[in-house]
């Protein structure tokens, strides 16, 4: 099933959800509205012709030029009906949700795919996107008292953390290093 068909399916079901479509790229995706994310995701997971049951990744993206943050969702279909047979047919799809950079809130998909739990915590930790209705939204990689979100483009690396120097002299003079 090619991405256009999937996009049309979504369009037919949720006419207002789609903000933009990028379908002829190396990684075709559909940009949808944050508020309809959960319904679209549930539809993608449960629709018998789609059944994207494996959430591969949630990549948070900083669109500094547009003053936006984005989340890219990659999903895949793993056929489980004929378990044990060699599976060679698959389909994959991607979604994107763009949110405001100053108050970034995206509904959580942890209720749709449980794999989203840790991916969203990671996006929260490193990019500062808050996922509403997430069961346990905490920092996952950085310490709980870390200041800032490292993957943002305008992030300034702290010079020390609890008295531990976090950069070298060279790093002080060459901040991009």
């Amino acid at each position: 099933m090619i991405p256009e068909d999937i996009c049309n399916l979504i369009k037919a079901r949720f006419p207002d959800a789609i903000e933009a479509t990028v379908l002829d790229a190396a990684r075709p995706y559909v940009q949808i509205k944050a508020e309809s994310l959960v319904e679209v995701a549930t539809f993608l997971r449960d629709d018998p012709s789609l059944r994207f049951n494996l959430l591969r990744s949630i990549s948070s993206i900083d669109l500094l030029a547009d003053n936006k943050l984005a989340c890219a969702y990659d999903m895949m279909h793993v056929p489980t009906e004929n378990r044990g047979d060699l599976l060679t047919t698959t389909r994959s799809f991607a979604l994107r949700v763009v949110t405001d950079r100053d108050d970034p809130v995206i509904p959580s998909l942890a209720g749709v795919w449980r794999a989203a739990d840790w991916h969203e915590r990671e996006a929260f930790d490193l990019m500062g996107i808050r996922f509403s209705d997430h069961p346990d939204l905490r920092r996952i990689l950085c310490p709980d008292d870390w200041v800032g979100h490292p993957l943002r483009k305008d992030y300034e690396f702290p010079l020390e953390y609890h008295g531990i120097p976090a950069t070298t002299e060279y790093g002080l003079t060459n901040p991009r290093h």
Partner: protein
């Protein structure tokens, strides 16, 4: 004596109202397993809520090895980033190099020469064997058997010798680069590699005799930590952990890359005990299945390598004009089959030579997420069994 209290730290978010009232009231204990613990395979910390030997709840805490590898990816050119991918999953450096290289090649439309593809497959499968050997050996350690560890490492040393001969490094190879491989194979390497395969194949029988079919080992791992296929997919488990649940799913077959479609090989899956030499008592998706899928994958890797070595022909090993290549303003998400599962790289270009965003989807990271779901109401000794059978590498979990 010094009076000490053992109060839980407030950030654990574990509920404490499960203490049942009764005549024999037992105390629940919060125990830190890690970050320095012999069987957490690195710096993983698991907070266990235990009642005697029973583990009621386990909560993994990660990030002790976080190096912000994704942030580094936004400051260096792709071929400079290759060494950083080695440091993610330091057990399977070749496969990580390969994943990132393929991602950049797809993004920029670079065509990899035939010989380079064959060498990539050979190296990736060799590293798969080496990685599975580490997994088997350390899993033996987790179960209290010390000997399989040294046996596995004996063979792994030979693989590392081969790697060292090819690229000069024994752990962080940076051998597979964007557009091909870094160096050609030295003289005599192919023969040596075939010699190794002849030596290695019978050794798998030894591992089986020593550990896989050992009665105690089977009793320790069978029916422990059973994960169903539905749970595995919901939690995003991939690789051996997913195949052990009975799903014959492997990206090398499903979305072939680097010429995997040319090779003839099988995808082993986990199955219930009693047939095909699988001991009785084994359930699809338990720790033993995950362990044994890795054993079977090693034989398949040997098969692939024999074919690739036979088809290795002279030719260029690197595409032209790759260094300093400008990345188009596009994005790509590529997944390949790492020894631990599906390793994905999301790369976003912005027209310059440096990527705007690099995101790594570590299979260990996703596989580890199921820990708190599986480690419920089990015995303390089962926690290392489950963690070890998921075969996580903390360098990749924390990135």
């Amino acid at each position: 004596m010094a009076e000490t209290t053992f109060e839980s730290t407030p950030d654990l978010l574990l509920d404490h109202d499960r203490v049942e009232q009764g005549d024999l009231q037992t105390e629940e204990l919060l125990v830190n397993m890690g970050p320095q613990h012999p069987s957490t395979h690195g710096v993983l910390r698991i907070v266990l809520r235990t009642d005697g030997e029973m583990v009621l709840e386990a909560e993994p805490h990660i990030g002790y090895l976080h190096r912000c590898a994704e942030k580094i990816g936004e400051s260096v050119q792709p071929y400079q980033y290759i060494p950083y991918t080695d440091r993610m999953d330091y057990i399977a450096g070749m496969n990580n190099n390969q994943a990132f290289a393929i991602a950049i090649e797809r993004l920029c439309g670079v065509e990899v020469p035939e010989r380079a593809k064959r060498i990539r497959v050979i190296m990736a499968e060799l590293n798969r064997i080496a990685s599975h050997l580490v997994a088997l050996g350390t899993y033996g350690l987790d179960m209290g058997a010390f000997t399989p560890f040294t046996w596995c490492f004996r063979e792994r040393e030979m693989i590392l010798d081969l790697f060292e001969a090819a690229c000069g490094a024994r752990l962080t190879y940076s051998y597979i680069t964007v557009g091909g491989v870094h160096d050609d194979l030295p003289d005599g390497w192919v023969e040596r590699c075939e010699e190794f395969l002849d030596f290695f194949e019978p050794k798998i029988v030894d591992y089986n005799n020593l550990l896989s079919f050992n009665h105690i080992f089977v009793k320790r791992t069978a029916t422990v930590g059973v994960i169903t296929a539905e749970d595995a997919l919901a939690f995003g488990l991939t690789g051996a952990a997913l195949r052990a649940t009975g799903v014959r799913w492997d990206l090398r077959k499903v979305t072939p890359y680097d010429g995997y479609e040319d090779y003839d090989f099988d995808i082993p899956i986990g199955q219930d005990g009693g047939i095909d030499g699988v001991p009785r008592g084994v359930v699809t998706g338990d720790c033993w299945s995950r362990y044994y899928v890795r054993i079977l994958e090693m034989t398949q890797s040997v098969r692939i390598m024999r074919q690739a070595l036979k088809r290795l022909e002279e030719g260029p090993i690197e595409a032209k004009k790759v260094k300093g290549i400008k990345l188009p303003a596009d994005e790509v998400y590529v997944e390949i089959e790492n020894p631990r599962g599906q390793l994905g790289f999301y790369v976003q270009g912005d027209g310059s030579a440096i990527p705007a965003r690099v995101k790594a989807r570590g299979p260990s990271f996703c596989n580890l997420a199921i820990t708190s779901h599986t480690c419920r109401d089990i015995l303390l000794a089962d926690v290392p069994a489950i963690i070890g059978s998921l075969d996580v590498v903390l360098g990749e979990v924390d990135r």
